[in-house]
């Protein structure tokens, strides 16, 4: 019954590796987001898709590539992981853009 789910919950990996985080929502929402929350709890938008179209693409390194196979899924692939990528990554969704956002449980990424 989870509204917004993410896998994995924890991800520990070595520098230089490539990893993916998956997100799924069963709310019937049109818009999905990826956020990065750093150690100081600062939440920053990275990407947003509306009906599978990219509508927000913040200044993040191009090692980060989102992919939305359908409205209910938004995945995040990260190439050549760096120490500074360590953070909690949250997926979120909303009905149209601009309304309440529902967040997933987060993926804690640790790069060693």
């Amino acid at each position: 019954d989870t509204a917004v789910s993410q896998t994995p919950k924890y991800l520990v990996t070595q520098m230089g590796n490539d990893k993916s985080i998956k997100c799924e929502q069963n709310l019937g929402h049109d818009t999905m987001y990826w956020y990065k929350q750093d150690s100081k709890k600062f939440l920053k938008i990275m990407f947003s898709y509306n009906n599978k179209e990219l509508i927000i693409n913040e200044t993040v390194p191009n090692r980060f590539s989102p992919k939305s196979p359908d409205k209910a899924h938004l995945n995040l692939h990260i190439n050549s992981l760096e120490l500074g990528d360590s953070a909690v990554y949250f997926c979120a969704s909303s009905k149209p853009p601009g309304l309440a956002q529902y967040f997933g449980p987060g993926t804690r990424l640790t790069v060693l």
Binding site: K41, F42, N50, L99
Partner: protein, 111 residues
Amino acid sequence: GQQVMQIPQYQHVQEGEDFTTYCNSSTTLSNIQWYKQRPGGHPVFLIQLVKSGEVKKQKRLTFQFGEAKKNSSLHITATQTTDVGTYFCAGGESNTGKLIFGQGTTLQVKP
């Protein structure tokens, strides 16, 4: 670029005391949203304010949106230990739905 500043960063109160967090934007906002994140948890939507000067209440929580739509506040009356967490304001852009989050205010409540 657009910035949303939130103060204070931390607040420790005795249970039963009131608490307020303030949010200021460098530009006029289309709306303001408030979220609560419990320790180890994820942000949870509390409320959205859209109209200039709007005031909304949820039990002990009172939310205000400034007349110029550039500032907002969240006031909690008679805090309880269940209020512990980080409260974020987030300013909305009208065309993209992008939210610019404030830095958050972390509330600790001593029983």
